[in-house]
């Protein structure tokens, strides 16, 4: 395979793995947030704020991987 083909292939796989990681991470986060809200509905506001912040941070990490994949796809 030429390097161009390998670069495209790796970009695709990398993006998939990044999405897998984000989905698992944010899914667990959402589950914990819902559990906490169910146990104590009065804390809904605080839990929601923390959930959004943590989701943004996790998404930031996955976007590192997406940036690398985009660089690969552009250079190829």
């Amino acid at each position: 395979m030429t390097s161009t083909a390998l670069a495209f292939l790796s970009a695709g796989f990398g993006a998939c793995l990044a999405v897998l990681g984000a989905g698992l991470g944010i899914g667990r986060l959402a589950a914990a947030a819902l559990d906490g809200t169910a146990r104590q509905p009065t804390a809904t506001g605080d839990i929601r704020t923390s959930m959004i912040i943590a989701a943004a941070l996790i998404e930031g990490v996955t976007l590192f991987a997406i940036v690398v994949c985009v660089l690969l796809a552009i250079k190829a």
């Binding site: 998939c16 943004a56 941070l57 976007l63």
Partner: protein, 388 residues
């Protein structure tokens, strides 16, 4: 969700691979370089002129940020990925609807290279520095002007009971001060850093929101801008840490408290670790902004990739939904940047006694109270016979 669609965007971009990779790879990879200008200055080729015409009207109604596509100039073949990258990256052309080419058109262009010519290209011997304003720079200026005007105009409504726009802005400023600055830095030192944190928050917010306006661009989607913002945070964080620990204490922190023979390994690692946080700030803001726009454009690009206008029935509502998500992400990213900056500043302040600056803060209510009350007490006790 954004990641799923970013994957889709990648798939689209790669299927629309241009037949000459060498020509498009180089300029597309450099975002803020003047070399990109020559590629972007080429007239936009139209993959399907008829569909462009049909969709342009629809885009005009839906107010998407990336609505316009190159009109039927017809020269050269541009692929979807070229159009997408052209919209997101920096360049020298600004598009706006107006009167040109004898009549109203949605795609009037101003080429900044033509406006400024060579007047801002500086030559130092063999090196050339090109300072011609680019699209993102103009957007930064516009966002700054809007920000300054918003605050100046609303300040007239100041008073014991604020009204109007001032009320809303005061809500946000108070939010930055109470929830972000005081919570992370502590009550006594928060007021020193609130100006910077407010500036960062509002600037990033306004620049992000500017990117959602049709025909405008997101300047925070330029890695140069986010690097600069992260550098400001880095400088302020390190300055705070040095001031609170002293230069010697800060350097000692760099060694990490291990034995002397481990220093050659430890110090480079610690120095690298110093730069991890600003790097993360940079990439987080940059990638969030760029990913959102690429997702919107790839959804709309599906219409062209699949070749049928019927795709628009599903594609445009989804793009609108992602637009709403982008709006939310604009606020969240500004908040996250500011919160992490304040967290880093607070972490720098948390170490040891806070150096010589406590002499100035004799009136501070909280803080390392007992230690300084003791020292003030001894001063007073030592001084009183003289005063008596």
């Amino acid at each position: 969700m954004t990641n799923l669609l970013a994957t889709l965007a990648l798939a689209l971009a790669t299927t629309q691979h241009s037949p000459e990779p060498a020509q498009h790879a180089a300029p597309a990879a450099e975002h803020a370089q003047p070399a990109a200008a020559t590629e972007h200055a080429q007239p936009h080729g139209a993959a399907a002129p008829a569909e462009h015409g049909a969709v342009a009207g629809e885009h005009g109604e839906s107010h998407d940020g990336s609505a316009e596509h190159g009109g039927g100039h017809g020269e050269g073949k541009e692929t979807l990925s070229d159009v997408m990258l052209g919209h997101v990256s920096d360049g020298y052309e600004i598009e706006f609807p107006g009167f040109c080419h004898g009549g109203f058109s949605f795609e009037c262009e101003v080429n900044l290279k033509h406006v400024f010519g060579d007047s801002l290209v500086l030559h130092f011997g063999s090196t050339t520095i090109d300072l011609t304003p680019t699209k993102h720079l103009i957007m930064l200026w516009l966002a700054s002007i809007v920000l300054i005007l918003a605050f100046l105009v609303s300040a007239k409504n100041r008073g014991l009971v604020p009204r109007g726009l001032y009320n809303f802005l005061e809500l946000l400023v108070q939010f930055v001060r109470d929830e972000i600055a005081v919570k992370n830095i502590g009550k006594e030192y928060a007021d020193r850093y609130v100006p910077y944190l407010c500036t960062a928050f509002f600037f990033i917010l306004f620049v992000n929101l500017f990117g959602l306006i049709p025909y405008a661009a997101t300047a925070t989607g330029n890695i140069g801008v986010t690097v600069a913002l992260a550098t400001f945070t880095f400088i302020i964080t390190q300055y705070t840490a040095i001031k609170s620990m002293g230069l010697g204490g800060w350097l000692k922190h760099l060694t990490g408290g291990v034995a002397v023979w481990l220093w050659p390994i430890m110090i480079p690692v610690e120095i690298l670790g110093l730069f991890t946080k600003p790097f993360a700030l940079t990439i987080r803001l940059f990638a969030n902004m760029v990913a959102g726009h690429i997702v919107i454009m790839s959804l709309l690009g599906l219409i062209f990739a699949l070749g049928s206008p019927l795709v628009a029935v599903g594609s445009v509502p989804m793009a609108l939904a992602i637009f709403g998500l982008e709006l939310f992400v604009a606020f969240v990213q500004a908040y996250i940047f500011t919160m992490l900056s304040s967290l880093f500043i607070g972490a720098g302040l948390a170490h040891h006694g806070h150096g010589e600056e406590h002499e100035e803060h004799a009136h501070a209510a909280s803080g390392a109270g007992s230690e300084h009350h003791g020292s003030h007490g001894s001063h007073v006790a030592g001084g009183s016979p003289g005063h008596g």
